[in-house]
């Protein structure tokens, strides 16, 4: 066995897994393309081509949204809670935020802050239902959040029609537009790009940092992670699991409440029937890809956003259905966890080696002393 610095070794192992996974996903996707008779080379050169500045902006924007979704899911995962309901939570929240911001009870930035808080509250409340049901009634959060997603759809549709304004000549309905002064300005990258990067990206980064700090540095985070690792040990250590379950769901829902806001404040300025849906499910995959680590989730979000963006012109330029990328994304999720698992087992073995060596050493000295004593 090599006597590498264990930290270095750990880092090497950590990198090995995703690289292995990406290569594997690349091969599997190529195989599918070959079997289907699609032009493999052209597909990859389109997908892996250097994105233009405006595409970079799009990638960053979509990654921001996916990142928040991944964070929301990850909060639950750290406590072994499986929040499938981010989808419903962010839609309820985005709708509430759009109404609040559209009504503009407060001027300018104050309006923005109020809307963001309202969104977080709404997301938290919607997730909280599942939290309470789980904590108090033992209802699996997997089932309750699935049901709540559908219920959110119906309720939001109902209330949207109640408050909607409709632009002349448009078949879309939406909430009132957010006044100019309450929008979150974006910024340009490079000089040629017409697409701006959402200003919300900084808030997303802040959310990521807060997530990291809260979970890894605070007592609350310790309690949350401990509960996730072993409910029974958590109870014995004095953590109220009921309370933690509800709080974790509230927190997850609050973050989920942010998911739609970059779109709302940076792009659409209202919530309507074309508001992007399905972001919660992407978040699950991204949280899993990033192993619930804020940096990992960011990488996962960027990877998914990159693949989505790059696949967009596939049909126009190469004549291949962009759905191939969904296969790639799913395969990546699978290969990543498989290679993490393989690498993890290997790591555990290394660790056991180390423990065993220490034990052997201990025994050797003990035997020596014994023999000395006899002599």
């Amino acid at each position: 066995m090599t006597n590498l610095d264990p930290r270095l070794q750990k880092l090497g192992l950590g990198l090995l897994a995703p690289v292995l996974a990406l290569v594997l996903a690349f091969l599997i996707t190529s195989l599918v393309l070959v079997l289907a008779g699609d032009p493999v080379g052209e597909v990859w050169s389109t997908l892996l081509g250097v994105p233009a500045e405006r595409n970079v902006a799009n990638i960053l924007n979509n990654a921001t949204v996916l990142y928040l979704s991944g964070l929301a899911v990850a909060v639950g995962f750290r406590m072994n809670l499986f929040n499938i309901g981010v989808d419903g939570q962010y839609r309820v929240a985005a709708f509430v935020a759009a109404v609040v911001a559209g009504e503009a009870w407060l001027p300018g930035a104050a309006n923005t802050v109020l809307a963001i808080l309202a969104a977080m509250l709404a997301g938290a409340a919607w997730a909280g239902i599942a939290g309470v049901l789980r904590a108090k009634r033992g209802v699996s959060e997997v089932i309750s959040t699935i049901m709540l997603n559908f219920i959110a759809t119906g309720l939001v549709a109902y209330f949207l029609r109640r408050v909607a304004v409709r632009e002349e000549g448009s078949n879309d309905i939406g909430t009132k537009e957010i006044p100019e002064g309450s929008r979150i300005p974006g910024f340009q990258i490079g000089d040629g790009s017409t697409t701006e990067v959402y200003g919300f990206i900084f808030l997303a980064a802040l959310a990521g940092f807060t997530y990291w700090f809260l979970l890894n540095r605070t007592r609350f985070g310790f309690d949350l992670r401990a509960t996730g690792k072993s409910t029974t040990a958590a109870v014995a250590s004095g953590i109220s699991v009921t309370r933690m379950t509800i709080v974790a769901m509230l927190l997850s829902g609050a973050v989920a409440g942010l998911v739609g806001l970059p779109l709302l404040f940076g792009d659409s300025y209202s919530y309507g029937s074309t508001f992007q849906s399905g972001l919660g499910f992407a978040g699950i995959a991204i949280a899993l890809l990033g192993r619930n680590h804020p940096i990992g989730i960011a990488i996962g979000a960027l990877l998914f956003a990159y693949l989505d963006e790059q696949s967009n012109p596939l049909q126009i330029l190469v004549g291949v259905s962009p759905d191939i990328v969904a296969i790639t994304q799913g395969v990546i999720v699978l290969t990543v966890v498989i290679s993490y698992e393989v690498v993890r087992r290997y790591g555990v073995r290394l660790e056991q080696h180390a423990v065993a060596r220490a034990l052997e050493a201990g025994r050797a000295t003990a035997t020596d002393q014994e023999e000395e004593a006899r002599a």
Binding site: R219, A226, A233, A236, S237, G238, E351, H353, V355
Partner: protein, 503 residues
């Protein structure tokens, strides 16, 4: 004896795990119709050897002969086919299945899964006096009954060689006696029994032959009639057998823990019923009882982990009754849980995080809601040194430590919060003799310093040796108080099963 081939003959068995040599050149002969005991230190390789003989794990080297023919065992199915059966240390039963289902599983070819199988179970149960009912749910059974189901499973498959790995760790003396009676009956039928235990007195009383394993190798095979437990222990560890022994009383007149009228409702009968006692500073109160009679519930009720509990709990004058588990811990309770894997540790967290567990609100590693990793690491290092936890470092995952070392870490953690009350549930269960002695030492030391200790143990010698007073718990009630200086394990045992009265 020499004409007949032995029931089992192991020659040169070797097995290594990554970095560990679990077995190395093991040689054992088990004669037919005998009880053959195997003893050895924690981690000596006994279970590994038995798993090899039962086909769970494949040996790296060596040969196995059963009934005179050399066999190769690729899976438990192979072993079963060759007439080997095993009762594991941790019962291998599906709780949500009936006894019948548990028994016939994997052996459906013998008598099907219906009426014929039921009849066969009843027949075996009657023949050996096991008292097993086929249609009961296993979750409704007590420990002793579960063990009899395990034995019935083995017999049902027509095993001629029966392996029992630490079967007595959870039994009270009466149950142990019943078990031994069953074993002798099996022996009389010509079956061979391989029996593993850390309790050397038991081994001496029941075995016909004893093999000692040390660091994966057979060091001796002895005849119990010519050996003492002291000699056995020396063979095992190369040092003297330590024992828990009472020292001069340190009991003060200050009441540390006051429990009054503690109750806990259950489905059919109360799990705890009108329990009252005091523990003084410097006093060790032992609780004796057959597993499942409320000791776990008692501990959890005192810790505030049982929502429905009624009654009063006071710690040094402070009323804990309405407080949460965390508040109770903060008030000065140290807690060594019965099941370290479930309640004591985060197996997939590093040792320093495990150091924080249960002490999340204590300085210096927790300040203003934040966790100070540096401070925790330093203090974990201190425990590792003071309590002789064998580990490469404080960043090692708890899972990687052996049972004994995990336990030492827990003991170190719970002793270092300056508790005024220590609740120790089975503090030395499954722990090797060296670590056992160290843990006893720590408890005695703490008692000397004025700690109140609530000790729960299935090991009656430990209980008698360490306690200043022993209460017996039966069906959720305290049914008798004993002076450890006077009582024998047998007397305690009969009180625990409801057969005897208080002294």
């Amino acid at each position: 004896m020499s004409d007949v081939a032995p029931a089992v003959r192991l020659r040169g068995i070797g097995k290594r795990f990554p970095g560990v040599i679990a077995n190395d050149d093991i040689n054992i002969d088990v004669a037919r119709g005998t009880i053959h005991a195997i003893v050895g230190e924690n981690g000596a390789g006994k279970s590994t050897l038995m798993k090899i003989l039962y086909g769970v794990q494949a040996p790296d080297s060596g040969t196995i002969e059963i009934g005179g023919t050399q066999v190769s065992l690729g899976s438990p199915a192979d072993a079963i086919r060759h007439g080997v059966g095993m009762v594991f240390q941790h019962f291998q039963l599906a709780d949500n299945f009936t006894v019948l289902e548990n028994v016939v599983l994997g052996a459906e070819k013998l008598h099907g899964i219906g009426a014929a199988a039921r009849a066969e179970i009843v027949r075996i149960s009657d023949a050996y006096g096991l008292g097993v009912e086929p249609d009961q749910m296993v979750e409704d059974l007590g420990v002793g009954a579960r063990q009899r189901v395990e034995i019935l499973k083995v017999l049902y498959r027509g095993a001629r060689v029966i392996i029992l790995d630490e079967p007595t760790a959870v039994l009270v003396p009466q149950e142990v006696e019943e078990l031994f009676a069953n074993l002798r009956e099996l022996k009389a039928e010509g079956l061979s029994v391989i029996f593993i235990s850390h309790k050397l007195d038991e081994v001496l009383s029941v075995a016909d032959e004893i093999t000692v394993i040390r660091r994966g190798t057979t060091v001796a095979t002895v005849d119990p009639s010519g050996t003492t437990s002291r000699e056995l222990a020396e063979l095992m560890v190369g040092s003297e057998l330590p024992s828990p022994s009472t020292e001069a009383s340190t009991v003060t007149d200050r009441v540390t823990l006051h429990v009054a009228d503690l109750g806990l409702p259950g489905e059919n009968r109360p799990l705890l019923d009108a329990i009252s006692f005091d523990i003084h500073a410097g006093e060790v109160l032992g609780i004796a009882g057959v597993e499942g009679n409320g000791q776990a519930e008692l501990v959890e009720a005192i810790m505030g982990m049982r929502p429905g509990a009624t009654g009063t709990v006071r710690l040094a004058g402070q009323d804990l009754t309405e407080l949460s588990t965390r508040r109770r811990r903060e008030a000065g309770i140290g807690y060594i849980p019965e099941d370290r894997h479930r309640h004591g540790l985060l197996l997939d967290a590093p040792l320093w995080e495990n150091r924080v567990l249960g002490h999340q609100t204590r300085k210096p590693w927790a300040r203003r809601g934040l966790i100070d990793r540096g401070a925790s690491r330093t203090d974990t290092q201190r425990i590792v040194e003071d309590y002789d936890v064998r580990t490469p470092g404080v960043d090692t995952l708890a899972r990687a430590l052996s049972g004994g070392n995990q336990q030492k870490l827990i003991v170190g953690r719970e002793m270092s919060g300056d508790p005024i009350l220590l609740i120790a549930a089975h503090p030395t269960r499954g722990v090797d003799v060296g670590a056992q002695a160290a843990i006893w030492g720590h408890i005695k030391e703490a008692r000397r310093l004025g700690l109140a200790v609530l000790l729960i143990s299935a090991d009656l010698d430990e209980l008698i040796g360490l306690s200043d007073r022993i209460e017996v718990i039966l069906r959720g009630r305290l049914v008798g108080s004993f002076d450890p200086g006077q009582v024998t394990p047998e007397q305690l045992g009969s009180a625990m099963t409801g057969a005897g009265g208080a002294a």
